[in-house]
């Protein structure tokens, strides 16, 4: 699938995964890779960007294996952005599907 096309929806995927539960980086990458084939490294610049934009915050939490992990959690603004993007995506994909079906 086209790389730019994927990048566009990656924000949407990350924010909506975080809406369900806080995650550390590797966990997020894994959850997304289960559905879409991505260059896993591209998640990290994206996480940095949405952190800077104030959509997510980070905190450290102990892990059973080795040093503490950096967890990402949605801010209130992040929650709003996630919901809005999800809605936009559903509207948009419905219309594209309609178009493809020629309705």
């Amino acid at each position: 699938m086209d790389i730019q096309f994927k990048k566009g929806v990656l924000d949407l995927c990350v924010l909506n995964l975080l809406k369900k539960s806080d995650c550390y980086g590797y966990e997020l990458v894994n959850k997304i890779s289960n559905y879409i084939i991505i260059s896993e490294g591209t998640i990290y610049p994206l996480l940095k960007k949405i952190t800077t934009d104030g959509l997510v915050k980070t905190y450290l939490k102990e892990s059973n294996e080795g040093p503490p992990r950096k967890y990402y959690t949605l801010t209130e603004r992040g929650h709003e952005a996630a919901s809005k993007m999800e809605k936009d995506w559903i509207d948009f994909s419905n219309k594209v599907n309609d178009l493809l079906r020629g309705e």
Binding site: G25, Y26, S33, P45, D53, E65, R69, R77
Partner: protein, 333 residues
């Protein structure tokens, strides 16, 4: 590619990010490798799934340079739909007051009525870039910035050094051109490029830096360091500060009083002026290239001078020092 090769290549390509960001980015990838290894994958497998480190580095650099201005707004705008960009629309070409009350990182902008905008930040913060670049020339305003706990940001921490202070960087417009400006600020750091018009500024800050002042200016600052340059017109400075560097540009009268630390005053060439300086601790250094016309100043050592140097024209200097050493220097700066 193994872990070390990947990390080295990523590190050497992260050119346009700050050292702090670089450290944090590299540690994120180390964490990624650790987690991958713990789940039974090989270094090579993890590295190849991550993709080309050079490309990844590029994405960090790109975002870093393209969003800096938005970041300033974003950090101010957290938890509110009233963005600062909106306030620009509201306040352009009006004659209103602006009150900004910063107490924490989460912000609310409250429009109490059309004459008045108030911004509150409700939680503790580490760093805020507060950027006001929105106002027209004609507007007069009051800017009041209060940290959530004045005690924490005020006197108690001023002399413990900038590193111990949460950083509030207050960036004022490139040119503030108001007929009269009164500013009170309690901030870790006050940075302002320029003021035009009569300015009365009271600052409790770790660091005060102002690049341009004109007309009649009074600056009172409790700060660990003060640097004011490009002073035009009359200047009155009263500082409780570690050190003060004052660069006078085209001035007539200046009165500078300092309660602590060293005071360095830089005077331009061919200037006629009255200058009074006062310090109770530390040294006064006056760098005045005009003095090169006289040799009498060489080897001059004295604890207290009053009305000593009256040179040609209207030059009039009064310098008082009750502690430490004092230098009047003839060398150009």
């Amino acid at each position: 590619m193994n872990r070390k090769m990947f990390m080295d290549k990523l590190s050497s390509n992260l050119n346009n990010v700050s050292e702090d960001d670089k450290r944090s980015i590299l540690s994120d990838f180390q964490e990624h490798f650790n987690a991958g290894l713990a789940s039974g994958r090989t270094e090579e497998d993890i590295a190849s799934a991550l993709g080309d480190p050079e490309e990844i580095a590029k994405e960090f650099s790109y975002k870093e340079s393209s969003t800096s201005k938005e970041q300033a707004y974003a950090s101010f705008d957290e938890k509110t739909n009233d963005s600062f960009v909106n306030s620009r629309k509201l306040y352009t070409n009006t004659n209103k007051n602006l009150n900004v009350d910063i107490t924490t990182i989460e912000t609310r902008i409250i429009y109490t009525d059309n004459d008045y905008i108030e911004a509150k930040i409700l939680r503790d913060f580490h760093k805020i870039n507060f950027n006001i670049a929105l106002f027209e020339d004609e507007m007069s305003y009051n800017l009041i910035v209060k940290p959530f706990n004045t005690f924490d940001f005020g006197f108690s921490k001023i002399f413990s050094g900038i590193n111990n202070c949460p950083i509030l960087e207050l960036y004022l417009p490139i040119k503030v051109k108001f007929p009269k400006t009164t500013i009170k600020v309690n901030a870790a750091k006050l940075v302002s490029p320029s003021f035009e018009g009569d300015v009365y500024l009271i600052a409790n800050a770790c660091k005060v830096k102002i690049d341009h002042l004109s007309n009649i200016s009074t600056v009172k600052a409790n700060a660990s360091s003060v640097q004011i340059s490009g002073i035009v017109g009359d200047f009155n400075g009263e500082f409780n500060a570690g050190d003060a560097d004052i660069y006078l540009k085209d001035f007539r009268n200046a009165y500078i009083s300092l309660n602590a630390g060293n005071l360095d005053v830089f005077i331009p060439e061919n200037t006629s002026y009255d200058l009074k300086s006062d310090t109770s601790v530390g040294a006064i250094n006056i760098f005045d290239p005009n003095f090169k016309r006289t040799r009498e100043i060489d080897n001059f050592v004295m604890r207290k001078i009053e009305g000593y140097a009256i040179l040609e024209g209207q030059r009039n200097i009064i310098v008082k020092s009750t502690a430490s050493n004092m230098k009047l220097s003839a060398r150009p700066y």
